[in-house]
Amino acid sequence: MRVALFVTCLNDTLFPGTGKAVVTLLRRLGCEVEFPEGQTCCGQMHVNTGYRDEGVRLARHFLDVFAGYDAVVAPSGSCAAMVREQYPKLADGMGATRPGAFASVHGGRSGFARAVAEVTPRVYDLSEFLVDVLGVTDVGAYFPHRVTYHPTCHSLRGLRVGDRPTRLLRNVRGLELVPLPGADECCGFGGTFAVKNAAVSAAMCADKVANIESTGAEVLCAADNSCLMHIGGTLSRQRTGVRVMHLAEILAATERDVGGPMSREVPAVDPAVNGEAR
């Protein structure tokens, strides 16, 4: 199976450890992982902030880069939801209300719509890919820590990943999963909302942080580093001592990681595993 990693611009730039963890994990599970180097960004920030034309241009670029793969895996619920849920809406509604919107996009509106129909059904969030495509819920991970899981809005209500992430976490050896009160409530990130409505965003995060602390967890896990950047930034500012980790980083960890992955700097990809994969 030709699997393309869509690492996302945020992970690429700020959280490369998450990308490396996905590579480690997928290779351990026998996948051949490619990283199409033409990739940049899905366009979510632009579309959701009201810059549709720029967003559509980035979407078109994404569709070109990721055409022809059996699966595209993104370690981000919101980026995967952008592609799968919002690209079709861009193709539909926006083309109708703004006839000129696709003028500078190659293939025009109909070409865009065709590419959307072809590419987007094969775009998966990491947990969907593991559970639905590979059919695994035990990925052979070891992580002896007390962890609570924040489901993130776009995974929960956009992609509807349901309990896939927690099924994966429950099968991690040594991991104690504690339920997060008010888990389904938004953390307050919301992209540019975090800056445009900084006060409300901070108030939402304050409640999220209080809920996290009430669990007594060492680690807050989520499948989206944008939410984790927001919550983690608050946890760090408040010196709570709770650290944040992406789902991929926990699932990539095994007994071979001496001391376990205690920081966001995840151990480099295991050469032995890579050797097998090649």
Partner: protein
């Protein structure tokens, strides 16, 4: 505080209002308690119906079909109401609707009207318009009474006084009931039963002597000309039944094609709104009944403008249940006043800018008053994709020049992987210089409460290239 006609004129933008509201710990406490109570109740009665999803799909489609053929249904409704002895008036805007109602009240010779809570009459500022012509409008819904006595703004579609708790309500009753009529008993407690009893006694004389009633309607059935009002307290029944003259102001989007369609909406609305299997009272009437004189005022006031927007028009499906307010994390923390409109919360954030336009700073900021978490869409009984409309309206609203420049630069960088790589390498080189606790400029909005992550030495793409995907 003085109420502008249906708008809270001159209010600053949402983020500023929100910041002030967030400081009010009593408000935060009241809202949290109330919204969490109603969320649980709604969920329980929705889960009870095995066919909720099918009802929701039907509700959405019925509304869409109505809007698609609205001209036909409006004419049909007009004919049916007229045939049943009612009078139908058409109002293109708020001023015309107010004029029609004032003239109708004048014709009766009365100077007092009793009112059932109605979003449409709040939207057009009817009470203020009546007052300026020497006619007193008596609000009869308990929450509206609390708002009216407290010279306050409504802050919720269903429960306009949701921002007040029981002890605040007690104080308002003790202080102000006497100014309007029968005073509250001096030994009034803050027991909700006692508060409801005080309201009952205060309003009863006015109901029993009322000659003119003014209402809105939840639904208007085109096929039969039937109006439908859902309520809880019985004040609606009082206002609809006791007066000799009844005037109903109804938005044109409230039409439903057939009587049968009620089988869907009488299940969707109460469960979504008060979290009950059914609200205590629903009244339906067709034309002039039981010797009453009946006037129907059909109101446009911007609705046809909303209808012309292919994406935005879904907001006209709204049945004003307020489920979206009750689950919204933003509304829960700032309350309704920050939205500066009689329509607060997620539905307000898409309805107000469409009805009023985005000329004011406040209205232009409303589409951004959301983290796009999607909880509103999940609970909407007519499946209004509020996040979709928010994003659509953001694209239609003008942007601040500095932001525009920033996002243009970002888009330019992201257009080519080579540019992104150069930007990443620059950031990595400067990583030691970037403060993690205090960013300059607009970044300060982030670092006021949050640290920024450390920039890594190497981006993922550089790592992939250097190690051939981790092979080296």
């Amino acid at each position: 505080m003085s109420a502008g006609p249906g708008t809270f004129l001159g209010m600053p933008a949402f983020p500023k209002n929100a910041e002030e509201a967030l400081e009010d710990s009593q408000l935060r406490f009241n809202l949290r308690k109330a919204t969490h109570t109603i969320r649980a109740r709604r969920q329980a009665v929705v889960d009870e119906l095995p066919d909720w999803a099918a009802l929701r799909a039907a509700g959405k489609a019925i509304k869409d079909e109505t809007l698609r053929n609205l001209d036909r249904y409006l004419i049909q409704a007009e004919e049916a109401v007229t045939r049943a002895g009612g009078h139908v008036h058409w109002a293109a805007d708020a001023a015309e609707a107010n004029r029609i109602v004032i003239d109708l009240v004048r014709a009766t010779g009365e100077t007092q009207v009793v009112k059932v809570k109605s979003m449409a009459t709040q939207e057009i500022g009817l009470n203020e318009a009546l007052e300026s012509e020497g006619i007193t409008a008596n609000e009869t819904d308990l929450a509206e009474l609390i708002v009216q006595l407290g010279d306050d703004w409504p802050s919720h579609i269903l429960v306009p006084a949701i921002h007040r708790n029981r002890s605040e309500i007690r104080e308002i009753f003790l202080e102000h009931m006497g100014e309007w009529g029968r005073p509250a008993p001096a030994d009034l407690t803050d027991d909700p039963k006692a508060l409801a009893e005080a309201a009952r006694l205060h309003l009863r004389e006015r109901f029993l002597s009322a000659k003119v009633g003014v209402s809105g309607a939840n639904f208007l059935i085109a096929e039969t000309g039937t109006l439908v009002v859902l309520e809880s307290e019985g004040n609606g029944r009082m206002c609809l039944t006791m007066p000799r003259t009844l005037i109903s102001v109804v938005g044109i989007e409230k039409v439903l094609p057939t009587w049968r369609d009620l089988e869907v909406f009488l299940q969707l609305l109460p469960r979504s709104s008060t979290g009950e299997r059914m609200n205590p009272y629903t009244s339906t009437w067709t034309g002039a009944v039981e010797g009453q004189e009946f006037h129907l005022v059909l109101l446009d006031n911007g609705r046809t403008k909303v209808l012309a927007d292919e994406i935005g028009r879904q907001a006209l499906r709204c049945i004003r249940c307020s489920a979206c307010l009750n689950v919204c994390p933003v509304y829960e923390r700032v309350g309704g006043h920050a939205y500066g409109s009689v329509y607060p919360g997620p539905i307000g954030a898409i309805l107000t800018p469409q009805l009023r336009g985005t000329a004011s700073e406040l209205d232009a900021s409303l589409p951004y008053a959301s983290s796009l978490c999607g909880a509103c869409y999940d609970v909407c009984p007519v499946a209004i994709d509020i996040p979709e409309v928010l994003v659509h309206l953001r694209a239609k609203t003008p942007h601040a020049p500095a932001e525009r420049l920033g996002l243009k630069v970002a888009a330019w960088t992201l257009d080519r992987p080579s540019r992104l790589r150069r930007a990443q390498r620059l950031a990595s080189r400067l990583r030691g210089l970037l403060p993690r606790r205090r960013l300059p400029g607009p970044g300060a909005a982030w670092t006021d409460t949050r640290d920024v992550p450390a920039v890594p030495e190497e981006s993922f793409r550089d790592w992939w290239n250097r190690t051939e995907g981790g092979a080296r």
